[in-house]
Subunit: 117 residues, 2 copies
Amino acid sequence: MSTAPATSSRDLPHPAGADIRLEAVLHALSDPMRLQIVRELAAAEDELTCSQFALPVTKSTTTHHFRVLREAGVIRQCYRGTAKMNGLRRDDLDDLFPGLLDALLAAADRQAARLGG
Amino acid sequence: MSTAPATSSRDLPHPAGADIRLEAVLHALSDPMRLQIVRELAAAEDELTCSQFALPVTKSTTTHHFRVLREAGVIRQCYRGTAKMNGLRRDDLDDLFPGLLDALLAAADRQAARLGG
DNA sequence: CGCTTCGTACGATAGCCATCGTAGTACGCC
DNA sequence: GGCGTACTACGATGGCTATCGTACGAAGCG
């Protein structure tokens, strides 16, 4: 009876592209944990489940960080079975702020190379 | 007797270029008030005194925001008489994170154009 | 149906932070 | 020296937030 798609029934609130605020994006990325998540997502070129990230925090905290990223408009989330898939909102971000995401990722890579070896 | 330069005697602590952290920069810019300060500084192409900014907060709070920006390595401050001059650390930031500052400023301009006019 | 896996919700806690007001310091000028 | 200007320091306060633990819900699998 329902018209729900086959992938899932639970749906998650995302801000519309026009509602994404630069300050919120910057705040989301100003946390080391979340910056790391975004870097891994960008490197993956594909969607990843929450549990594929080996973060040094509990699952509760991980959920919190993913929600902050989603509500800031940085990532898109959807359920697929028991797993929750995460993907960068590259298209929306590039549309709103051309070049910003690439510059941020490049800066993060550069800093990681400089500090991490 | 002293070897102090003519401009001032009070000196302010700035992080060295190598100590500037991306997360701190993003955190500094994630506050609307501070983002506004940086935008005005970038537009000015010159140093500005603290009192040239018409921010809707008290002077105490203004001082606080300028300090956060300075300690994050975003701006450089020095005294000139009673005035405190503020300038973007464009060279250091471009050296550490090429293209990042321009992308951030462009994103802020774009959002201002989209929302404010 | 039970079991497991994955993730959420909720409450608690501790720390940070934006803001203010007041009192004070440094400098230039008369 | 005395005055005004520009900014600071300090304490207070209310709000946000990163973190945790425990209890719960949803989907798949036997």
